[in-house]
Symmetry: C2
Subunit: 188 residues, 2 copies
DNA sequence: TTTATTTTTTGATATAGGTCAAAAGAAAAC
DNA sequence: GTTTTCTTTTGACCTATATCAAAAAATAAA
């Protein structure tokens, strides 16, 4: 997925604007298991995923990791609250598959936001999209059985389900990996 | 809480901008138990709460209501995804205490967003704030015991806790009212 | 005040899903 | 190909919290 196509699809940037925006992004390649962000530090980069798969997660007191979100091709990735509020991140960012990313620093993003009305609109739309997705996850999660939560996952993210390890999916859905394993057994 | 103060606190609007923005809002008063929005309909209004308290909720298949969010003085209220995406709302909006609100329609909001770069910024910041709050709730909710969830509520929304009925709080925190009642008994 | 309605509390019981432990299977490293 | 490491599965057991039912308390209506 090309970054320019993604942006144009969201907001009708002029050629000039688009060029000036894209130029601020930097291509970066990462290998599986790379950590892009450690919790407690401020997220300074917003990434666009050209290719690959990542997740955000945190570690509980008992040492168990909890996945908060998966990020796939053609999507932006960051610890969004940390990036936009410039506060320490609750999450880590981890590369799950070798990836090609385009990154932009907070400073550069601020410049673009101030310079282009359209850029504000773009990020406004993205923020609302993130919010909407989170709302959907909450609805699918709260007051639903483990089985129902997994069904939601298959429906909403069918392609992710089979690229990601069972443990990561389980914690994303708020259950143990043993439970998810048992659910899968009783599926077709 | 005055709307103009709230807006100025977020973005440095000029006097001119601010006047033109405020003029599009309309004062409306509502009595306790009024329903501002029914699920399945598109949320056409964004409200600013000058005074009062409301909630968003949905009804489960078994007929039980689940509170999604509480909205208090000095905050915006809407079924946000429904309003900004103009899609049918999953939630109802209900007034919990007699209220004075300022409302703006989606059409007018669109105009302001297109007209003022600062307005885009304002809504972008609000969207990120909503997102951030939802993230916090998820973190406080997922993988935590009923007791821990209630502690989070007291910490995060100390003034709300004692204005709202037990049942509403319980469903907001993803537990039954019986459980919350038992938790409260064992406090102090 | 008295009655009706709604909300909260309490008790008894049931169960989904957690925890712990260990085996089996798959993937990575050597 | 063999060994090591990581991931998934399976079993036994346990606990937090749901459910159901009914009493008590609080609030609203008459």
């Amino acid at each position: 997925m090309k970054l320019s196509d993604f942006l144009l699809n969201l907001v009708p940037f002029s050629d000039e604007e688009l060029t000036d925006i894209i130029i601020h992004f930097k291509e970066e390649k990462f290998k599986k298991n790379a950590i892009l962000l450690k919790n407690g530090t401020i997220c300074d980069k917003l990434y666009f995923i050209k290719e690959g798969m990542s997740r955000s997660f945190y570690t509980r007191k008992d040492g168990k990791e909890v996945t908060q979100w998966f990020f796939g091709n053609g999507h932006f990735m960051a610890s969004a609250e940390s990036f936009f509020n410039q506060t320490p991140s609750f999450y880590n960012l981890e590369i799950l598959e070798d990836s090609i990313l385009y990154s932009i620093s907070f400073k550069k993003m601020e410049l673009l936001l101030a310079k282009y009305h359209n850029m504000e609109k773009c990020i406004r739309l993205l923020s609302i999209e993130m919010f909407t997705k989170l709302v959907h996850k909450m609805n699918a999660t709260q007051f639903h059985s483990a089985k129902e939560r997994y069904s939601y996952m298959i429906l909403e993210y069918p392609n992710i389900v089979h690229r990601i390890s069972l443990g990561h999916i389980a914690s994303y859905l708020g259950m143990t990996q043993e439970t998810l394993s048992r659910i899968r057994r009783n599926e077709t």
